[in-house]
């Protein structure tokens, strides 16, 4: 499965990907997402699932079913938009709370015997070089901590520039 996490409005998204295969799951902003409250319930109350049961509570399970994660986000200060970041904050049930040391740093262990590739598209007409540098560091850190590999990190000025071959 391909998992697409994006912050585009419905019209923009349908223009970008008009013929979406059934093998894709799309995580869009329906205006109802709640923010992570730092309770760690996804590790110690309902392991593997977020305790907040809105439309975004099963991100860990969806990541575990995905071969590729495609993120399309407006670039905010060298990172994701608040909605996309919210989805990622709500995704930590994908990993295990226990720690292990990798490359002499502490990271969380895998919950699933699984990995996925990540492609990130940052869009915005005024993304600075410093922001691009930060965004690269952020995506690399995410890939280490979510135990995934990076397929690509792209910066474009507008959504229209996003390659039609995104899938």
């Amino acid at each position: 499965m391909k998992l697409i996490i994006h912050d585009l409005d419905k019209i923009e998204f349908e223009r970008l990907l008009p013929d979406l295969p059934d093998s894709c799951r799309v995580v869009s902003n329906d205006g109802t997402i709640k923010n992570c409250i730092g309770c760690f319930g996804c590790w110690v109350k309902t392991p593997g699932a977020c305790v907040i049961r809105d439309h975004y509570g099963d991100m860990g399970e969806w990541l575990a079913k995905s071969d590729e994660v495609i993120i399309i986000s407006k670039c905010y200060y060298g990172g994701y938009s608040p909605f996309v970041k919210n989805v990622l904050d709500r995704s930590i049930s994908y990993i295990h709370p226990y720690f292990e040391t990798r490359n002499n740093e502490m990271h969380h262990k895998k919950r699933y015997n699984h990995t996925f590739e990540t492609s990130v598209w940052f869009y915005g007409d005024d993304i600075t070089d410093d922001e691009k540098a930060t965004a690269n560091k952020l995506v690399i850190a995410n890939s280490i901590n979510m135990i995934s590999s990076i397929k690509g990190i792209q910066f474009v000025k507008s959504v229209e520039e996003i390659d039609g071959g995104i899938l």
């Binding site: 923010n35 992570c36 110690v44 575990a64 970041k85 919210n86 720690f99 699984h114 850190a141």
Partner: protein
């Protein structure tokens, strides 16, 4: 002489008893007596109307927040965006911003992307960047609040906090600082994992449930 207004802002989603708040509690006594200090909690994805003017009327902002997925917690990111909108109408070029980021990992340097995000925000909104402090071992911060400054596991942290406070007190820019506890990493790992097992049993589950797979 006009008082220097300082806002200490906890960016934890927890309004009370957060590690971010504890770090600000540790910093506050080190700040200059010339400062007029206000304390704010941004624990929701919007800045309360009454807080926006008070926060952005300050001369110095000090954000303290937990590292979430290598970055800024989304609710605080939303607040920063609201502040960006506000600052477009009310420019504050004389405002200086500092950031303290606590991470659950042992190594404070894992907070670097989050600190850079705040620095980039400063450039975007036209305020000055001061300094960032990345604090590792966030899981033990609250349990160490009773330990005297500069002692035992707090040694590195106290030195770093003093350095940050010196820059804040002179409103000057400094290199980012990253600290890990003066405590064996393996000890921190064992302690954290014991804590997870304790919590999962308290929730009526078995310790094996901690690795539950839904797929």
């Amino acid at each position: 002489m006009k008082p220097i207004k300082v806002s200490l802002i906890s960016g934890s989603p927890k309004p009370l008893s957060s590690s971010s708040g504890t770090l600000l509690d540790e910093l506050k006594p080190m700040l200059s007596s010339r400062f007029h200090v206000n304390i704010h909690s941004l624990n929701k994805p919007s800045v309360p109307e009454e807080s926006m003017e008070s926060i952005l009327d300050s001369d110095i902002l000090i954000f303290s927040f937990p590292l979430y997925v290598d970055g800024i917690p989304s609710h605080l990111l939303s607040c920063l965006y609201e502040m960006e909108i506000y600052l477009k109408r009310h420019a504050r070029p004389d405002l200086t911003v500092y950031a303290i980021v606590n991470c659950g990992f042992f190594e404070g340097h894992q907070a670097l992307p989050a600190i850079e995000l705040v620095k980039n925000w400063c450039y975007k909104v036209g305020v000055s960047w001061g300094q960032g402090l990345g604090v590792g071992g966030g899981g033990m911060i609250q349990s160490l609040s009773g330990v005297p400054d500069g002692q035992g596991p707090k040694k590195n942290f106290s030195i770093a906090l003093n350095e940050l406070a010196n820059h804040i007190n002179t409103c000057s820019e400094g290199e980012n600082i990253f600290v890990s506890p003066n405590f064996p990493r393996i000890g921190y790992k064992i302690g954290a994992e014991m804590g997870w097992r304790y919590q999962i049993k308290n929730n009526g589950l078995n310790k094996k449930d901690i690795g539950r797979r839904l797929v």
